[in-house]
């Protein structure tokens, strides 16, 4: 194989490019060195939702709409800008002839490591260290990246407006600041919703699962899903049948952060590689020209 020095240099350049690209997908821990993952300074609070106690009265939905100054509308069964928290009805029966309907409260899961917060172009979505994922409507540009990023499909968009924004449950962050319970928790007549520290809620949930009559499935939805959520669910049927997505334990936000935080490395690496290649080829051409010039000179005598 004939390889000139020029080819070799090209290969070197290509190699550098590939290597710097490789940094983008390097093992997460290595790339996360410089990453700023906020550590909670306050205990993360959340809500335990015991679907076995839910009677589907929609009091939580009404309280939510009232507290957010939205028109009260019990007919909404899917999340939308005027209903950040709804009571869905899931058919949990495996027999298509005998449907068994089960009410499930559904709202933002207020993840521990939320995908929407890392996706948001302008940082309008923020994770508060006491639990809720809050939304600043004055920043939002309506790009809808959060809607794709969310593994639960929570953020909704004001499709019917001229200038549209996102909407989602923020765990009643402002009510919590005033020392009040989230509106839905306060309104629930059957105590299906419990507000509290996430670790304590997990303890309560485990107690219900393991010390009761065994009517619960042995799974706290939200304990590990996508890195954990602060809204936790208990149920008496497998969660897939309630319409919950089956999700991995790794937060997509973590993989994303690893890739995004390698950006400066790639930028510097690429700029240096290109400058280096330019300099080397320039130098070689100059030396070659000199050599040719000298030979011509000598030949002339």
């Amino acid at each position: 194989m004939n390889m000139t020095r020029r080819d070799f240099l090209k290969l070197c350049g290509a190699g550098t490019v590939v290597l710097s690209m490789g940094a983008k997908v390097a093992p997460q821990d290595w790339a996360r060195v410089g990453a700023s993952v906020p550590r909670p300074t306050r205990p993360s609070n959340g809500v335990l939702i015991d679907t076995t106690k839910c009677i589907g009265c929609q009091q939580c939905q009404i309280a939510c709409q009232q507290s957010k100054n939205l028109p009260v509308d019990k007919t909404k069964r899917a999340l939308c800008p005027v209903a950040p928290s709804v009571v869905k009805v899931a058919n949990v029966s495996t027999d298509p002839d005998k449907p068994a309907l089960k009410p499930v409260k559904w709202q933002c899961m207020n993840c521990v490591n939320p995908s929407c917060v890392s996706a948001c172009t302008v940082g309008a979505l923020q994770k508060r260290d006491d639990g809720p994922v809050v939304y600043d409507s004055n920043r939002c540009i309506g790009c809808r990246y959060c809607m794709y990023a969310c593994p639960f499909g929570i953020p909704t968009f004001e499709w019917d407006k001229q200038l549209s924004l996102i909407s989602k449950c923020d765990g009643c962050a402002s009510r919590r600041d005033q020392g009040k319970l989230p509106a839905c928790v306060e309104a629930c007549p059957t105590k299906a919703l419990t507000y509290g520290n996430r670790d304590e809620l997990l303890t309560i949930a485990n107690q219900r699962i393991y010390s009761g009559d065994g009517s619960y499935v042995r799974h706290i939805y939200g304990e590990h899903e996508v890195g954990g959520t602060t809204m936790l669910y208990l149920a008496s049927v497998p969660f897939e049948r309630l319409g919950f997505p089956t999700l991995p334990e790794v937060a997509p936000a973590e993989i994303n952060a690893a890739i995004m935080h390698s950006t400066p490395t790639i930028a510097v690496g690429m700029a240096l590689a290109l400058s280096g290649i330019y300099w080397l080829i320039k130098r070689r051409d100059r030396l070659e020209a000199q050599l040719a010039n000298n030979q011509n000179h000598n030949g002339g005598h």
Partner: protein
């Protein structure tokens, strides 16, 4: 199972091409008809006196328009309809103007953006080859390519603006940064890179107005400019892939991989080279000026290598993650995936091995179009077709979405043609006559007949 999927896929393709193609064909036909009407009127001597009473500036404009390619008014009409559709979309809002919905918040426009950025990758690929690797023989292709890139990026910015719910706040990404967001990185890089492209292209305009000092200044900073531009391109070509890293739950596993930024970058290089090769032929036909085919062929020789790397990465990733069997077990998705790789990668790799292809403008164009079609399909798969369906939701672009899209593409063609007609875009390229002459010199004609 497989044949049924194949049929389904075929029906979907026919429907898509029909529903998108029909309004565009209709508009082109209308434009052609209007234009023919104008032409015949022009030719009638009866109308000549009426023309004479027109003011001089009007007659000048009329004769200028006549000197432009005949199909240009049609394109301008499509562009105009697009502008009207844009005003409509901004007036009525996203929900009323588009078919985007809760499960498909992004659609045709994002697919186009992804493809257009890859397509415009020619600008940074060629600039790197010419200025950094100092392959000066490709210099003549630089200006047309940079212009294509620049127009591509501007069209992406226009479409992105249309896609924002609060388009009046488009500048927020500058004042409210979120360094974890791939879309934030993409927006910044595209903004900065568009500035770089404007500077790289500015000599064409400055030369026209003979501002030699400014030209000299730009020449001086060319190398740093190219280095910055190529670095920015590496970043945003790959970040467009990173956009989908966080969508692990939505994108089909055949396309989803943490490696997707690298795949996007490598395929953008391929798309960029294919764009230059295709552009050489098209400008040869339209402007009668072009890069010599010998050089276009040299460039095309890079394609099998880049596509080979792309194929290796794509298949290698599936092997490494143990998902290789998805290639033949995913039904409709298998068809899409196979179409993407066969049309855009496998056939071109073989195609560009033939000397005949490299020497022929038409055959090179066919190969380049195959590459572009494959990457086009890839970007639309990632942005639209390969998203896992959500029960109760479907998406197909609305008429307004299609008209805006067609209008923006028409705008690119219109501006490109005007620049090619009025500004020194094709410096250093050759005309068909020159090419024939050089060919005769290089390869003496066979013995006298």
């Amino acid at each position: 199972m497989f044949p049924q999927d194949l049929i389904d896929g075929f029906i979907v393709l026919v429907m898509i091409s029909g529903r998108i193609g029909f309004p565009i064909m209709l508009m082109l036909a209308l434009g052609y008809w209007l234009q023919r009407g104008l032409r015949t009127e022009d030719q009638q001597p009866v109308l000549e006196p009426s023309r004479r009473v027109m003011p001089a500036w009007f007659r000048r404009i009329a004769s200028e328009i006549e000197s432009l390619p005949a199909w240009l008014p049609t394109i301008a009409l499509v562009g105009l309809v697009g502008v009207v559709a844009m005003i409509y979309r901004l007036w009525v809002g996203l929900g009323a103007a588009t078919n985007l919905n809760q499960a498909y918040p992004w659609g045709l426009w994002i697919g186009f953006d992804l493809f257009m950025v890859a397509f415009s990758g020619g600008a940074f690929t060629l600039a790197t080859l010419v200025y950094i690797f100092q392959m000066h023989r490709f210099h003549a292709a630089l200006r047309p390519t940079v212009l294509t890139g620049l127009l591509g990026y501007i069209s992406v910015l226009v479409i992105l603006m249309m896609d924002l719910g609060r388009w009046d706040r488009f500048y927020h990404f500058i004042i409210y940064p979120n360094i974890n967001s791939a879309l934030f990185e993409v927006s910044w890089c595209i903004l900065l890179y568009t500035c770089v492209l404007v500077s790289e292209f500015s000599p064409v305009i400055l030369e026209k107005f003979k501002w030699q000092r400014a030209v000299a200044l730009i020449r001086k900073i060319t190398i740093p400019l190219v280095i910055i531009g190529s670095t920015l391109s590496t970043l945003h070509q790959s970040s467009l892939g990173s956009l989908f890293v966080i969508m692990s739950e939505r994108l089909h596993p055949l396309w989803y991989t943490p490696l997707i930024p690298v795949l996007f970058f490598v395929s953008s290089v391929a798309a960029g080279i294919a764009m230059v090769v295709a552009g050489a032929t098209v400008s040869y036909w339209v402007f009668k000026r072009s890069l010599p085919q010998r050089l276009a062929g040299d460039l095309a020789l890079f394609l099998p290598w880049v596509l080979g790397i792309y194929l290796t990465l794509k298949i290698g990733e599936l092997l490494a993650s143990g998902e290789i069997e998805l290639i033949w077990t995913s039904g409709f998705y298998s068809v899409l995936f196979a179409a993407e790789l066969v049309i855009g990668v496998l056939i071109p790799i073989v195609w560009f091995q033939f000397k005949r292809v490299l020497k022929s403008r038409t055959l090179s164009l066919v190969g380049a179009i195959l590459v572009l079609a494959g990457i086009f399909l890839n970007r639309f798969d990632v942005a639209w077709f390969a998203l896992k369906p959500v029960p109760g939701y479907t998406y197909f672009p609305s008429l307004a979405e299609i008209l805006i899209q067609a209008g923006v593409i028409a705008g690119i063609i219109l501006v490109y043609t005007l620049v090619g007609h009025y500004l020194p875009l094709f410096e250093g390229t050759i005309t068909p006559e020159e090419e024939k002459r050089t060919r005769r010199v290089l390869a003496p004609s066979p013995a006298a007949e």
